[in-house]
Symmetry: C2
């Protein structure tokens, strides 16, 4: 694989930074120096440096120069896969069972639900995810009918609502909270596990622009599931 010139410039600088030859806050050669070094035009140098800046490795300041960025943006990519797909990838047979389907108003005094409902009704969907027939997770989901009227007619007996929503409703923003909680009586019964078992609790809300679409709480059997987040380029 022969690299193009701007890729070569980019990787040269990248490895200088990663190897420590260039330390954080160090100043990089200015564009005209790099033009001379690589005997190329300024646009080519610019493309390489812009890519590094977009990746967060360097910081460019108009009028001042280019500088190596502070150690790291401590943020990683968290894969939040579709459960059926993820279970299948691990070699198990995925199953879903709809437990509760209920059209109702937002609970009075529950600010979260009232924001989600937006004056109209909510669709509550409780369900159980399983792998090879064994319970994996139980979820309670609320969907805003104001935002997604079409879901009232969707067939959600076999297909989990998360998957349906993924395919039918584009969202622009989402927030996920991850914590560990003991299973209460109801969760324990559904997951066929003792009360108090450690569960991974995933709470997620999604928006389209500023309109709230759905909120979900998923309780995973702690020993049977984990999330993975990555930073970096490689791929195991």
């Amino acid at each position: 694989m022969t690299l193009s010139l701007h890729e070569r410039i980019r990787t040269d600088i990248e490895s200088a930074i990663l190897s420590g030859k260039l330390a954080p806050e160090d100043r990089l050669p200015v564009e005209h120096e790099l033009m001379q070094t690589y005997q190329c035009s300024r646009m080519t140098v610019n493309k390489a440096l812009s890519a590094l800046a977009a990746a967060g490795l360097i910081e460019r300041r108009k009028g001042a120069g280019s500088f190596v960025g502070r150690p790291h943006a401590h943020s990683m990519i968290l894969d939040v896969p579709d459960l059926p797909v993820e279970v299948a990838k691990r070699g198990h047979v995925y199953g879903y069972q709809l437990l509760v389907r209920k059209l109702r108003a937002a609970a009075r005094g529950n600010a979260e639900e009232e924001l989600l409902a937006g004056g109209r009704r909510l669709l509550q969907l409780d369900g159980l995810h399983s792998a090879d027939g064994a319970p994996l997770a139980v979820e309670r989901r609320l969907v805003s009918l104001a935002a997604v009227p079409a879901i009232a007619e969707a067939d959600l007996e076999k297909e989990p609502p998360g998957t349906w929503l993924l395919r039918h409703v584009p969202w622009t923003e989402a927030e996920t909270r991850i914590s560990a909680v003991p299973a209460d009586a109801e969760i324990a019964r559904l997951l066929k596990t003792p009360v108090g078992t450690a569960c991974l609790l995933v709470e997620r809300q999604t928006w389209r622009s500023s309109e709230r679409i759905t909120a979900v709480r998923q309780y995973f059997l702690g020993t049977a599931y984990h999330l993975v987040a990555r930073f970096g380029s490689s791929r195991p």
Copy 2:
């Protein structure tokens, strides 16, 4: 904030994708059409499309065209904050206590430890994080002396090793596993909680290129801590 032209083209297409106007696999207008639409040169269009491709939102195929990417959408940004900073941000007083500091060889037969050690010794660091004096998390960390010889002389009594490493050792890749486990006897004793309490277990390994730097297991008191991941721009 007035956007530059290539930024405007980029955000226009971006919002068309996120709003669903452009579906995955859809073909984008070709560069010459966009030149006409925006009355600009091809380089400007190219810059916008290249940025979208770098971000993974679109895929460009030489000779064929540009296409909206597969919904790689559900990967989110997970903040992996420095614990002292995070605790302070929540308005508590952070504390750290080093429990064990031990230079040792990799455990025989433990492939993970042997890979990390790389033929040399490991530094084992066990410690307890607390907020307002109450135990928050216990961690066991192994650092490769082959990769980070300098840590042998570091003062790690007050400053947690994670913070020291963040400041002194650049890493290029990291992987985090998140799961929920019950506290065993030792963890429970250190966290001053009953055996079996639900704990959030965060396991992280970091590399510089292909050289392993450190591996850590952190047990968080489930009720006292949570992680947050986001997708999208705004939101508190």
